[in-house]
Symmetry: C2
Subunit: 220 residues, 2 copies
């Protein structure tokens, strides 16, 4: 494969998980092949966008045949690293940590949760999805022993910079950050910041546009 | 303003909340004006991308001056509908509903939570951020009286289609859907589906790329 050598834009990358989800749905419904036109109609993007995006990785379609759904699904999963068996730990077992730990779709995507940590004595020792919440004091030795790939940060933002740097120093490869602060860390680590309010603002835009259009219709 | 008449691509729309966040940070740090070059360096996008994006709405910069931070911040907020005083209700007061209700950034963006609903007798009557959790049985009359703009769906996916359609029939304008199923509803409603695992898959991609690059370096 040669796709790793090319610089692929982050906009394309961000569309890959969506392709993966849609193809997974098709597979579930026993669809074995699909044209870029059909796929584009389902996903609400243009067919040429799909072709362009997939061409970044060498292209997977055959003229006149379309895409083999299972093959494309697996290739995209491979590009996304979903078959690498990445393990995760959860930092914070409050409501957000709880909700995320209980989320079945992450394991379905190949991410295995192997540890949960908190500082709250009330929560330490309790079980979430069969995993006993550990004291943050045990984090250091746990990470050294089990070498998790990803840490999910579901703790108050004040605590994040220090904990994040410690995790990077311990060799964690990726941080999934829910704390709403941008992290600037030394060391080789991949970071994905989740900004839920971005999605709410997008919804707000859509509502505003709808209201504007409805108003215009009334005026015609 | 004429921006409402133009068809702006969803990719541009999805970048607006990010501009808004960055400009808000600049304002907090008393930065009053900024060039598209500086803004682009901070945000990690190209200056021409920023100019193109903002030109979709008429453009806000002056040659040789750059952008007036406060003006641009307010204009983008206006485009996003953040000053429309949208009200929200939370459907579901489990861990996710709790985490979202406690999230201060939504109110900071202008969204006011006015009601929380659940079917669980253990939770009904309890307070979250000063709001008493109501019985789902009261939803109908509450929505008719208070006319919330947005419903946040933090309930198990089995319950979502029925509840969502009921909310739309009651006149709710937007659904913020955390249930991981795509909604197909009749009626005029804006929908924003949150797929957290997309973000985790993007992180997985970044980690995979880093490892591939590091391996290549070793081989040189």
């Amino acid at each position: 494969m040669t796709y790793n050598d090319k610089k692929v834009s982050i906009a394309v990358i961000r569309r890959l998980p969506r392709y993966y989800r849609y193809l997974g749905e098709l597979l579930k419904n026993d669809v074995t092949r699909i044209s870029s036109k059909e796929l584009s109609e389902r996903m609400g993007v243009t067919a040429s966008q799909i072709r362009q995006d997939l061409n970044c990785f060498g292209g997977f379609g055959q003229q006149g045949y379309g895409y083999n759904v299972e093959y494309l699904y697996k290739e995209i999963g491979n590009i996304l690293g979903l078959y690498n068996g990445y393990t995760t730990i959860m930092i914070g077992a409050g409501h957000l940590g709880h909700a995320l730990a209980n989320h079945s779709s992450f394991e379905k995507r190949g991410f295995k949760l192997i540890g949960i940590f908190d500082i709250d004595k009330e929560v330490i020792g309790k079980q979430i999805r069969g995993i006993t919440v550990m004291d943050m004091k045990e984090l250091d030795s746990f990470v050294k022993t089990h070498k998790p790939d990803i840490a999910i940060l579901a703790i108050p933002k004040e605590s994040v910079p220090e904990v994040a740097q410690a995790l990077v120093d311990l060799g964690v490869k990726g941080l999934w950050n829910f704390s709403y602060i941008d992290l600037h860390l030394s060391g080789d680590v991949a970071i994905e910041n989740v900004h839920l309010s971005d999605s709410l603002m997008t919804l707000s835009y859509k509502i505003t546009q709808k209201q504007y259009k409805n108003k215009n219709k009334e005026m015609l």
